[in-house]
């Protein structure tokens, strides 16, 4: 996604990216980033919290209008209403990021990779 934002901007169309994975997007560097410190999946506000979503959306528009430093990050400034525990557990072995069918697909790919590696093909 970040690479698409960069490419679009390189061709003259201003972009703003609203994202939760701050480190990933800052590493790739997009022209304008609005960082929302929420779990992956809800960059534009908490579900059904329309007033908050409106504020985040408006902040993205203001960022588009006023940012003057390439690659700068604007912080939306909200904290997840359910507390910060999700930050400690996300993407650990105790609480895998993927679940259900996605986890099964991940495991299948892992097995395939290991098999290929065992055969010296990767």
């Amino acid at each position: 996604m970040s690479l698409i934002a960069r490419y679009i901007e390189e061709h003259g169309i201003p972009t703003v990216t609203i994202a939760t994975a701050r480190d990933i997007v800052e590493s790739a560097r997009v022209p304008r980033l609005l960082f929302v410190d929420f779990p992956l999946g809800n960059p534009c506000g908490e579900p059904w919290n329309t007033p908050q979503q409106c504020e985040i959306f408006e902040t993205a528009l203001v960022t588009l209008e006023t940012a003057d430093t390439p690659g700068a990050t604007v912080e939306a400034g909200y904290s997840w209403s359910g507390g910060e525990d999700w930050k400690r557990t996300v993407f650990t072995e105790d609480q895998p990021f993927l679940s259900g069918a996605a986890q099964e697909e991940w495991l299948a790919r892992k097995d395939e990779y290991r098999k290929l590696r065992g055969e010296g093909k990767v």
Partner: protein, 165 residues
Amino acid sequence: MDHVRYIDKTRDYYLSQGYEKSYDWARNDEVAFAPLDKPLSECKVGMLSTSELAVRYDAETEDNPITEEGFRGVYSIPADTPTERFYSRTSSFDAVATHLDDVNAYFPVDRLREAVASGRIGSIPDRLYGAYNNYSKRKVLEEEAPNALALAREDEIDALLLVPV
């Protein structure tokens, strides 16, 4: 608490699962910058999501309103699709902490429409955009990014909002 270091966390996770190498996230120092050249109230603003956004439809009486090929690349969705028909097919989100039941929490289509209605932005194109995640950075630059630009140019948008899920 400070923000999550996903790059570190994914590296640890890959290594714990027996991989010798983790995913090599994109790293760039420089970035292009194109200032808006007119007021937003006169701009046509597009929106692009990587949430694998899809539309519920009755397969017996309707065609899939989404224009996509092979569940990859960049695709488009009619912008007048009723909000309640949108859903996400992605599993790349924190399903322990939250859910994707409210499309506006990851693809703020109602917020976009409200901005047009209030005059905050000029207009939106007739279609909204989706892009599948592609782990190959080379392919993103050779395929998804040029295809997204082609849509943007065809629709003559003045600015693009990107919402990675």
